[in-house]
């Protein structure tokens, strides 16, 4: 009789989240970069959508560097509510320095209570070196929390992040009477630990299911079964056949 210990059974992995066709693993550190203050609010919107997707209903922590307030303003709750139906506001931690922001993020990453943590920084962070990001990555693996690091107004430093994206705003699809449509972003994958590549693409914000839809991937409605487009949603792996997902 072969009795297996509970620890030897394969654990059922939570479904991963995919962004623009690339799968993002849950227990990892992911980075988003914005070149300057003009791109910072676009990157923040992307980051908040990803935060909701990774948390999956569990509590979220948002570490807010106060220097961002001068650049893009303070977080506004009705705007967060407009992210989509059923979004929950995260717990906000305001810090004055980047070192404190990283400490708060680490505390959140180590706690199994938080589903996902977003650390939003402005400017160059001296404390964010390879050691600090590796510490964050290890903490996410131990506790099952995902950490998103948003850096605006600074050059990308070497880090132990799983993926690194650059976000910039893109022109939205106009509604009637030249009204601005749902927000759109240019995404560029700067670095992936498994070596995957992705050309620059444009995503639209889909408010109803809080997801980012790739532009140019939607197919016209067919009679009969509709083929779903590659979209960012918990539960659907991003498989469009072009990219091989490692691990």
């Amino acid at each position: 009789m072969n009795i297996r210990h509970a620890s030897a059974l394969p654990s059922v992995a939570a479904p991963d989240v995919s962004l623009a066709g690339i799968g993002l693993t849950r227990r990892a550190l992911h980075e988003l970069h914005a070149a300057g203050s003009a791109e910072a609010s676009a990157a923040l919107g992307c980051a908040l959508v990803l935060l909701q997707a990774f948390a999956g209903g569990r509590p979220m922590l948002w570490v807010w560097h106060e220097a961002l307030e001068r650049e893009i303003g303070r977080p506004f709750l009705p705007g967060l509510a407009d992210l989509g139906p059923g979004t929950q506001p995260p717990v906000l931690v305001r810090v004055r320095r980047t070192g404190e922001a990283l400490q708060a993020g680490l505390e959140g990453a180590r706690s199994p209570a938080a589903g996902a943590v977003l650390i939003s920084l402005w400017g160059p962070a001296r404390e964010l070196d390879l050691t600090a990001s590796r510490r964050l990555a290890l903490a996410t693996r131990a506790s099952g929390t995902t950490v998103l690091l948003l850096q605006a107004g600074a050059a990308a430093a070497p880090s132990a992040a799983e993926t690194r994206w650059q976000v910039a705003p893109a022109a939205s699809r106009a509604l009637a009477a030249a009204a601005p449509g749902p927000p759109a972003f240019h995404l560029r994958l700067l670095r992936h630990r498994a070596g995957l590549q992705q050309p620059e693409c444009c995503v639209d914000w889909n408010r109803d299911d809080v997801s980012l839809t790739l532009r140019g991937r939607e197919r016209p409605p067919l009679s009969g079964a509709v083929v779903p487009a590659a979209r960012l949603r918990a539960g659907a792996a991003g498989g469009d056949g072009l990219l091989r997902r490692a691990g």
């Binding site: 003009a38 609010s41 676009a42 923040l44 919107g45 908040l48 509590p59 922590l61 893009i72 303003g73 303070r74 977080p75 506004f76 709750l77 009705p78 705007g79 967060l80 509510a81 407009d82 992210l83 989509g84 139906p85 059923g86 979004t87 929950q88 506001p89 717990v91 906000l92 931690v93 305001r94 810090v95 404190e100 400490q103 708060a104 505390e107 959140g108 706690s111 199994p112 209570a113 938080a114 910039a168 705003p169 893109a170 022109a171 939205s172 106009a174 509604l175 009477a177 030249a178 009204a179 601005p180 449509g181 749902p182 927000p183 759109a184 972003f185 240019h186 914000w205 408010r207 109803d208």
Partner: protein
């Protein structure tokens, strides 16, 4: 005698003007230093302190030793004192001011008080003169007289004061600080300067306080650590939790986070004499019955995380956003400390399928900009913000938000909000304050927020 006279008698006499405010501040500081002996310390202005040391004397090796230690502490703080310990506050006060006794046991109190002069009653000078002229020199003489006779001759107050002095009427002192609900303290034989030893002592105190709270069936939400330095300085640290807590490990962890995050680190100086941990804001806690073989309950709830972040960064820095029902954007949301707030429900403004109507971030106050727009209520065609000119590619509006007339009055300006997108894809929330033609002065344009 006059100042010139005094200067003539003593060369190099130090002279300073009377400063009542500084004297009062010094008295309060000494009261804080005296808290190491008992939590019940009251002020006896202008130059005295009353300490209620009922039940504290054994910690210092007896009443005489307590009086000695108190005087020595005050001496180290740079103040010379006279002290007297008695059974009632009024008697102690009179004895210390009008006699030379250091310590009076309860049985001897009547005799000691009888030996005090009548000036110890602290009546008006005319009444004291009248008492002396009547031949009544000390309290013992007065004690033999019938109180009704004295009250008829010298006023009703004299009977009350006499009762208080003799111990027939016992008043309690009014302490400076409300005594804590639950406390544990540790006095060191010698001043301790090493922070590691202080933390070890705090660990034991946390265990004692946790045990006391558990026996009462309550948990504390506010823990105060008081460190008494050898030279009289006192340092206080407060730690708050969102849920009532009595677990020693959790309390100690929060205190350690607080110690590590102080902007002005704790300076031992010549060492700490005493350490006190008190618990406040007690609330009932239901005890959980765990199985013998179950693992210990992990400290992993969201409120524990919020407490740790609050201890590290400050209670006001860990916030929850909550919404209010107001169409004025500046008043539509607010942030409250996360330890106080429960999770609020969220409201959504735009109907499904529509782009967001409210920006992700808001500028407080709005930034003034220069904009070019069609009169009377067209969206801006071009605007300049932070010295960058933006050409508007798409715009939607106006959304008219009038000021809340019940708050600001009827003359408050109306705002017309526009959602605009420039050629590069950046999305802004602008408003024009004032209407063309109706309000005096040209309407002004402002940038209020940014969309994603």
């Amino acid at each position: 005698m006059t100042l010139a006279d005094a200067r003539a008698r003593v060369l190099r006499l130090a002279v300073a003007p009377i400063d009542d405010v500084a004297d009062a501040a010094l008295l309060r500081r000494l009261a804080r230093a005296a808290e190491r002996f008992t939590p019940l310390v009251g002020l006896d202005p202008p130059d005295g302190l009353i300490l209620d040391v009922t039940g504290c004397a054994h910690l210092f090796g007896g009443e005489a030793a307590l009086v000695q230690t108190a005087r020595a502490t005050m001496h180290r703080a740079g103040v010379s004192t006279r002290a007297c310990l008695a059974a009632t506050p009024a008697a102690a006060r009179a004895l210390v001011r009008f006699s030379r006794l250091g310590r009076v046991a309860a049985v001897d109190q009547a005799a000691a008080v009888a030996g005090l002069p009548v000036a110890a009653l602290e009546m008006e000078p005319e009444v004291t003169q009248a008492l002396l002229r009547a031949g009544l020199r000390d309290i013992g003489d007065l004690a033999n007289r019938a109180p009704a006779v004295l009250a008829a001759r010298f006023g009703a107050e004299i009977a009350e004061k006499l009762d208080a002095l003799q111990g027939l009427q016992d008043n309690r002192i009014t302490p400076l600080r409300r005594p804590p609900d639950c406390l544990a303290e540790r006095h060191f034989a010698e001043p301790v300067g090493d922070m590691a030893c202080i933390e070890a002592a705090l660990q034991r105190l946390a265990g004692d306080v946790g045990g006391a709270l558990e026996r009462r069936g309550v948990g504390g939400r506010r823990f105060l650590v008081t460190l008494f330095r050898a030279d009289g300085a006192v340092r206080r640290l407060t730690v708050e939790t969102g849920e009532p807590c009595r677990d020693a490990a959790v309390i100690l962890r929060l205190i350690r986070l607080k110690l590590g995050s102080l902007a002005d680190p704790v300076d031992p100086g010549f060492g700490f004499d005493a350490l006190r941990l008190s618990a406040g804001r007690l609330e009932p806690v239901t005890a959980l019955a765990t199985r013998l073989d179950a693992p210990p309950l992990a400290d992993d709830s969201l409120s524990a995380l919020i407490d740790r972040l609050g201890a590290r960064f400050g209670r006001e820095q860990v916030l929850r956003l909550c919404g209010y029902d107001s169409h004025d954007p500046d008043r539509a949301d607010d942030s409250v400390p996360a330890q106080e707030a429960a999770e609020p429900p969220l409201m959504s403004a735009a109907p499904s399928g529509e782009p967001p109507l409210r920006p992700l971030t808001l500028f407080d106050p709005p930034h003034p900009i220069d904009a070019l727009a069609e009169v009377p209520d067209g969206p801006p065609l071009r605007f300049r913000w932070r010295r960058v000119v933006h050409e508007v590619a798409r715009a939607e509006g106006p959304e008219r938000i009038a000021a809340e007339w019940w708050r600001a009055g009827p003359a408050a300006p109306t705002r017309d909000y526009y959602r605009v997108e420039d050629a590069a894809g950046r999305r802004f929330w602008l408003f024009r304050q004032g209407l063309y033609g109706s309000d005096p002065g040209l309407p002004r344009w402002f940038m209020h927020g940014l969309f994603a």
